[in-house]
Symmetry: C2
Subunit: 329 residues, 2 copies
């Protein structure tokens, strides 16, 4: 198969509602700061009624990564499930507008397009409550073999481990990708996702994953330790390649037993950390798909993460290609 | 009637889709920079398909003004028409979230909630294409007498002159307001609106308006001149009180024959001028409703306008009350 895509991603197709919130608001609504919680339709409506005035914007972790990749000039494809409603159209429009392929048919007569209510506190942390709606109806029949086999990297969003059918879709994607000599990347997505599915995730990492993305919380949750270095050491024998992010402390890249460190990019004012990990993955995979050395993949990753945390919203607002060029990366 | 509201506004209930665009995009789609054009559903869909990835956020000129007023700590009410769809819920939620009254029932079985596609060029100018949808179904039966009679200022959005039924609603609101000793304010909204309805607007200003808001383009269109000072002189005998904005050149206040000038507030970087006039009106009416001198009303107005043009989106992102306090206004 020719290389039609740098990255083909499978993830939850979600529209975000982003609004400012106070710590008191999080406490009053029993929300864990920085985490992602799943809510049902009734909880979603009740929380929305209490939230401040916000903005709606296409989101979804892996979809944000595809948007970041496109902003670097990379060629992306996305697989996920929206409903045939207004938010589904917005999500589809935004994928088309960035030039990414997204061909999955909309779900008809089922739940609405997924929505994530993101409360951003003054410390720029985002706390998410997600109603999965139509996105959880993604199944292995939605995995497009032609897309998977034509992508240098097939990127899977760990959040989908919450849905049994999506897990089967991951297995199918991994089999197709490896059958075509392609690379499977996985992001752990969230500490609570790791808690809920530790065994299944570990088995999938061992058996299928060529490139793992995680942050400090997630990697510590995976190995049930609070010691970052212990978690990294524990991970080392299980992965070929991994990138582990530590917010302002930069990131660590593990490759064939080697450990590289990458500094975080300076940010004047952190406004909203939504999408930081997603953009890190975008920059890293863009670099990797273009054959850049790992250190530079990490720098591109840090650059993309820095851009997205400097404003509200989970996707880049300026050209990451131009930013990278200005830095000489 | 007691003073329940500082301002009760009647306007188009619109959700904005805001995206970056180039001058070439405007030219290719025959869009007049800085203006508002009305589009039908088919034109709306065709334009949306070509627009860049954007964000959705509650808008509507008078509704933005109510949001600004609320941000100053003022008490606002809004009257307008949404459909019983997702965007209608978003609009209603955002009014509730800022603490403004909005009680008009949703339109059922008719057109969708109004949407305005706002293309923002790198010079920060916004060019709007609006599909009026449900908002144009606002009629005089939607004017709530109890709200109008309890508001210090009843604020009318000039865009509604495009709809015959809404014009009747304006007449009803003016009669109720003046019957209760209340003040009627009107914004001219847009140069092309003035071109389309010059006679009707002039008649309404003469007969009903106690406070007129306009920008340079609109006031010049009203008197068919390109000379700002000539337009201001021509306006003088027709109004008791008027505030005329000139972007970076500040604004002019006319009161009982007296002419005051107000400087624009400095802005580090103008990002998106959407909502500048709406926020100017918010600051001015907040000051007026609280008995501030006219010069200070103009300063509060300039402050609110400066905040909103420093970021994407038509409503304030920080507390205008805090901003004003920091300035000592």
């Amino acid at each position: 198969m020719p290389d039609l895509y740098d990255v083909a991603a499978i993830g939850n197709a979600i529209v975000d509602v982003i609004a400012p919130a106070t710590d008191d608001f999080l406490a009053a609504n029993k929300l864990d700061k920085g985490a992602m919680m799943l809510v049902d339709q009734a909880q979603s409506a009740a929380l929305y009624a209490k939230m401040a005035q916000g903005v709606e914007t296409s989101g979804g972790s892996a979809a944000n990564t595809v948007a970041g990749l496109a902003s670097f000039g990379g060629r992306g494809a996305f697989m996920g499930k929206v409903a045939d409603d207004f938010l589904g159209e917005v999500f589809r429009h935004d994928m088309a507008a960035i030039g990414a392929r997204f061909e999955n048919a909309a779900l008809i007569g089922g739940p609405a397009t997924a929505i994530s209510m993101i409360n951003v506190t003054p410390d720029a942390q985002r706390t998410m409550c997600t109603y999965l709606g139509a996105s959880v109806e993604f199944t292995d029949s939605d995995v497009d073999a032609a897309v998977v086999e034509a992508a240098k990297i097939v990127y899977l969003e760990g959040y989908l481990f919450d849905a049994e059918a999506a897990r089967r879709a991951f297995a199918k994607a991994a089999a197709l990708a490896h059958g075509a000599g392609r690379m499977i990347a996985l992001t752990l997505s969230d500490g609570f996702v790791v808690e809920r599915h530790r065994g299944a995730l570990m088995g999938f990492i061992e058996g299928q994953v060529d490139l793992l993305f995680a942050n400090e919380t997630e990697i510590c949750a995976l190995f049930q330790t609070e010691d970052f270095d212990a978690a990294v050491s524990a991970l080392r024998p299980h992965v070929k390649l991994a990138a582990i992010t530590r917010s302002a402390a930069g990131s660590v890249i593990l490759s064939q037993g080697e450990r590289l460190t990458v500094k975080a990019e300076q940010v004047e004012k952190v406004v909203d950390t939504t999408g930081a990990g997603d953009q890190y993955a975008a920059g890293f995979m863009y670099g990797l798909s273009r054959g850049r050395p790992l250190q530079q993949c990490g720098q591109l990753a840090s650059l993309a993460a820095a851009e997205v945390i400097s404003h509200y919203g989970p996707r880049p607002q300026v050209s990451l290609q131009d930013l990278a060029a200005a830095k000489g990366y």
